[in-house]
Symmetry: C2
Subunit: 67 residues, 2 copies
DNA sequence: AACAAATGTGCAATATAGTGCACTATTGTT
DNA sequence: AACAATAGTGCACTATATTGCACATTTGTT
């Protein structure tokens, strides 16, 4: 699961700075940085706050054999 | 994101107890319980250990407007 | 009903996610 | 080159996820 680049790209498409994203989703800039660079180990709630703000979704599903 | 029931159902399909699942994915039984009942706020690593053990996958993707 | 297996819960301890500050590094613009 | 805006990092602190133990509850089997 490579979430860092997707988040960074998505934020950039929406024209947001890390600071703005952190304001919108109620998280510290610090954590936005660590998540975009995939350092650390975010919680589900943290990931979902970011996802919702950026129009992304976090999904758990059965993994098909052919992928 | 309703992960608790999916995990519980999937574990049951594979014929595993909470104890066995916790052994296989290297987590405490305690955390398996809290995740299946969706109490608490697991980390991505924790979720992915469980997902991998159960043949599930955790995905972050762009949310389409029509859903 | 009695019993065993599996699941749920209170509590205390430890590991680590999340925060804020001050600073550095990068990137882009003139 | 100089400057401004944005992004990355060290440190110490707080909040909370994760753990293990012991016990309670539920579920299934005879």
């Amino acid at each position: 699961m490579k979430y860092g680049d997707l988040i960074k790209e998505r934020r950039s498409i929406l024209g947001l700075t890390q600071q703005e994203l952190s304001d919108y989703c109620g998280l510290s800039v610090r954590i936005i940085k660590s998540i975009e660079s995939e350092k650390g180990n975010p919680s589900l709630k943290t990931m979902e706050k970011i996802a919702e703000t950026l129009g992304l979704e976090l999904i758990l599903k059965v993994k098909l054999p052919n992928e």
